[in-house]
Amino acid sequence: MNWGVFLPYLAVTALVTYLIRMLPLTVFRREIRSRFVRSFLTYIPYAVLGAMTFPDVLYSTGDLRTAVCGVAVAVALAWRGRSLLTVAVAACCAVALAQGALLLM
């Protein structure tokens, strides 16, 4: 892509993304009194990640069947408290194996 076209886009995407992350961390620094708001912010990580994971994970491999295999393995290991890396790698291996199994069928 032509650099003259590319660079303004690069600047806009980087700047907007940075401002979204930076402003709440630097501007809002008062101690929050409301118990509701404090609980709300404590729960936000789980709410965001839950909503980002489902249903998107089911489409992440392009085949629902292999994705379900990957999710099943990931859930089983994550439930037991295994590390991020273990769960991620095992899910990938499960998907790879499921793809192989589908080819043989």
Partner: protein, 234 residues
Amino acid sequence: MSGAFRKGIRHGIPIALGYLSVSFTFGMKAVGDGLSVMQAVLISMTNVTSAGQFAALPLMLANASMVEMAMTQLTINLRYALMSLSLGRKLDDSMGTPQRLAFSFMNTDEIFAVASAQPGRVGKTYLYGLMLTPWFGWVLGTLLGAAAGTLLPAFVRTALGIAIYGMFLAIILPPSRKQTSVRFVTLTAIALSLAFRYIPGLNTVSSGFSIILCAVLAASAGALRYPAGEEAEA
């Protein structure tokens, strides 16, 4: 090297490995769409946001206006504002304004999730360690994908697509198992997310906005029903 820095690095390694697979895909797609390897890498170096970067590609190709590009990024990435707001409460006194300005750049979904999961408050030394390897992972993966993506067998590329979700599950499931409040919030968010994807009418909401709506509704429901959740955790 201090202990906190090393601990941050250690916690960042799985994130970096997860990023390799996602940014690899981004690099491959960007070059396939007509960007140069250098351009793909520059986007990853300066943005560090998967959904935002993937969404930017078609807009660049379509010669979209800068306003449209800015609005798309704002919508898709607005969830980071919630995360920054939430994480701000966990930072200790070592995180002054310059440190906050520096860390903001890398407050990604995964770094935020790992930092949030630490007991007590987190300081600059730990956070700098935590953000270092994921940035290199993100940039390196983009470079490899852009330069050599097509060399990798298709089945490997496909399998890598699930890596990032495996990490998300590893973050949300253990606390969901232990705490009723977290389980309630997680399941509510998932139920809402499914509704916004499959129910006619609701599924016209863009994916960026739907994540924000789901997160705000589920966390509000959790805060109403289990307002003591935070105290129980501390």
